[in-house]
């Protein structure tokens, strides 16, 4: 009898432990707290914003898009939800199967494995993408996102997903755009609520303001309620339209290299060597200024004090913690700050490694030089938009491409870090 009771207890303990570890709570999108707290969004507004976003975009298990977005609902359905396969072998829940552990359920780049990665996984919510074929301020095209999934991002933790069937890759591209549009809408709603929804005076039946004991009119919060406020509904749809227009205009932002400036395919080795020499001159020159950040030997040690957009947002938020505000606000800010990952500086690329994150075709490097890299300190040397003024001609940019491609195979005889006098900060007063 004692024998059996002992094992029965052990079994019960195990059952409880196992059951506690099993998570059956449906995941939900959580609010961009840095934006919400920076814009003073109160709890009631936060709830209303989540409701509006839930209505407009659904949940991680049940995505939804208004027809205005132009996204394919069927593809989103395949990408969303828990990961499972049906009888025919079709995979569902692709985002959760492949992406969520780094990119997070909100697409915020804060999944469980994200904090162990350098660089951090991409946060889709600002809608800024580094590796694309379009002007700096434009969105990436579908082809750009597709290429990132197929080639991965070498030099980072992003692997290649080329072994997935094409339809699955398309679904994931669609879902990433969905998360971006949702993230941009979230920020826009938070700012709309701050900017345009003010308090209004409480009025009695006769239309006179109700006064509090001090003689001040009682102020009521204007709720975010598109259901009952046609003005708000119009504004929300207008904001969505602007966001979607940005994505739809991506193809118009593609940088097409001018045919007459593209180097010929049949250059002799001497011509190529001459191009490398011209590229080196430009690299070290005062027009392109590449050395200033990439360092005198291209090791990426020229200027390491700046941050990319995603880290800068966190840095600004953490700096705002030092400002004196009310204890309640400070407590909330501390809570949010505790969830952020350490701020990292944007280190310019070490060009001698031969690792090109955004693609290693000549045109990929050309695009980086032409438009810079959106969201990072890397500036462009070409026109900022069609018809604007550029800093270098395209032929000069192809020369720099040639030089950059030769750098990993040109070991410097004396590789030197940036000269010490350029690194000593002068910040002592007097």
């Amino acid at each position: 009898m004692i024998f059996r009771l002992k094992y029965l207890r052990l079994f019960c303990c195990l059952a409880v432990v196992v059951a506690a570890g099993c998570d059956t709570v449906e995941p939900s999108f959580r609010l961009n707290m840095v934006e919400a707290v920076s814009n003073d969004t109160g709890d009631a507004y936060q709830q209303e914003i989540q409701n509006v976003l839930g209505g407009m975009f659904g949940s991680p298990d049940a995505p939804y898009v208004l027809p205005e977005t132009g996204l394919d609902q069927a593809r989103l359905q395949v990408a969303a939800g828990p990961a499972w396969s049906d009888q025919a072998g079709t995979n569902h829940g692709l985002y959760r199967r492949h992406c969520v552990h780094c990119h997070g359920i909100n697409g915020d780049g804060r999944g469980p494995t994200a904090r162990f990665l350098n660089p951090y996984p991409r946060d889709y919510r600002p809608g800024i993408y580094k590796f694309k074929s379009t002007y700096n301020a434009s969105k990436p095209t579908d082809e750009d996102l597709h290429r990132v999934l197929i080639n991965g991002v070498p030099g980072t933790g992003m692997p290649s997903f080329s072994l997935l069937p094409g339809s699955e890759v398309e679904s994931l591209v669609e879902y990433v755009k969905y998360l971006s549009i949702r993230g941009q809408m979230e920020t826009a709603l938070i700012r709309y609520v701050y900017d345009d929804l003010d308090e209004e005076e409480a009025l009695d039946e006769k239309g006179n303001p109700i006064l509090d004991p001090n003689g001040e009119p009682v102020m009521l919060r204007v709720p975010l309620d598109p259901e009952n406020e046609p003005d708000q509904r119009e504004a929300i749809l207008e904001i969505l339209g602007e966001i979607v227009d940005g994505w739809n205009a991506a193809n118009e932002g593609i940088i097409v290299p001018a045919e007459d400036q593209i180097p010929s395919d049949s250059r002799t080795p001497e011509e190529i060597a001459a191009s490398v020499v011209r590229g080196r001159e430009l690299f070290y020159g005062v027009k392109a200024n590449c050395v200033k950040c990439h360092g005198p030997t291209g090791l990426g040690d020229g200027q390491q004090d700046d941050q990319d957009y995603w880290n800068k947002v966190n840095k600004v938020f953490l700096e705002s913690l030092t400002q004196k505000t009310s204890p309640a606000v400070e407590a909330v800010k501390q809570e949010v700050a505790a969830t952020l990952y350490p701020v990292r500086n944007a280190i310019p690329r070490d060009l001698r490694l031969g690792i090109y994150r955004g693609g290693r075709r000549r045109i990929d490097i050309f695009w980086k030089i032409y438009a810079g890299i959106a969201g990072t300190p890397m500036p462009g040397l070409g026109p900022a938009s069609a018809g604007a003024t550029g800093t270098l001609t395209e032929a000069e940019m192809w020369d720099i491409v040639e030089y950059v491609l030769s750098l990993p195979y040109e070991p410097p005889s004396q590789p030197q870090k940036a000269l010490p006098e350029n690194l000593n900060p002068i910040s002592s007063a007097g």
């Binding site: 707290m33 919400a36 209505g55 969830t339 300190p377 003024t389």
Partner: protein
């Protein structure tokens, strides 16, 4: 917050029924709203709003910028230039670089419909942006100039994002398309200490206070309520809105978002002296 398997659980989640209701109402599409959402009627005529921002307190000592590149160009006699986050005129106590602008103007005076000059210069010299707070009317072209002998890249954040290398001694044109609600930062990546603020607006109803704290916005719509936004880069309000709680500010019903409303009579010249206590700027 332990990073583990559970993500951050701050903030609310969507309520299913409320979300469904919102979805139904948005799917109907936008009806024409109840006319314009402008609060109040429009008046006639034009007025002038001017005044001075005066700093009340001991202005903090400005620290030098952290100059770590191109020392020959960016330092003067080996000394880095001082930061410009809170500039107070020692003689008059005037607070410089306060941005004050009308949030939504119902009508625009003819003189401001087409700005005085299509081009507007934005220069940088000795590794400092010469206009620390730089406003622009949409339609104008920003001429970004580099008057140094080293290259700079001008990195403008926000809705009109721009990041291009400006070679030494040259000028690059940039025409922003979108209005910003508050000034956005302009930086250089090669010289990361460089900082300025950029405010593109749809109309010319803005002013940046001069070194003596004075500002003037001419030809503002008279006879109607104007909502003014006030901003300073060191202000502790949300988005650096300048939030004041002095008795004068309370009379103006100065909001927690750095806004106040004012109604001017036709041809009135309103002169306001606005005192800014040190606490409002983080003092």
């Amino acid at each position: 917050m332990s990073p583990g398997c559970r993500q951050s659980e701050l903030g609310p989640i969507a309520e299913a029924q409320a979300a469904a209701n919102v979805r139904a109402s948005l799917s109907e599409g936008a009806e024409a709203g109840t006319g314009s959402s402008a609060a109040g009627s429009t008046g006639t005529g034009w007025a002038t709003l001017k005044g001075r921002f005066v700093f009340d307190g001991t202005p903090p000592q400005m620290q030098p910028y952290n100059v770590n590149k191109d020392l020959a160009t960016c330092t003067i006699n080996g000394k880095a230039p001082l930061q410009q986050t809170l500039l107070v005129d020692s003689a008059t106590g005037g607070l410089a670089n306060v941005a004050i602008y009308i949030r939504k103007a119902s009508r625009v005076h003819v003189s401001l419909e087409s700005p005085p000059s299509r081009e507007s210069l934005f220069d940088q010299k000795e590794c400092i942006f010469l206009s620390h707070v730089y406003p622009l009317t949409l339609g104008q072209t920003m001429q970004i100039k580099n008057s140094d002998n080293v290259g700079h890249n001008t990195n403008i954040e926000g809705k009109n994002s721009f990041n291009q290398t400006i070679p030494a001694g040259e000028l690059i044109d940039f025409t922003p398309q979108k209005e910003e609600a508050v000034p956005v930062s302009v930086r250089c990546s090669i010289h990361p200490w460089m900082l300025a603020y950029f405010l593109p607006r749809k109309n010319g109803y803005y002013a940046i206070s001069k070194p003596d704290g004075s500002f003037e916005i001419a030809n503002v719509p008279a006879g109607e309520e104007l909502e003014m936004q006030v901003w300073h880069e060191s202000a502790v309000g949300p988005g650096h809105a300048l939030v004041l709680d002095t008795p004068d500010a309370k009379k103006l019903k100065w909001s927690k978002k750095g806004r106040f409303k004012i109604k001017l009579g036709e041809d009135e010249v309103k002169d306001m002296e606005i005192t800014v206590p040190a606490a409002a700027l983080g003092g």
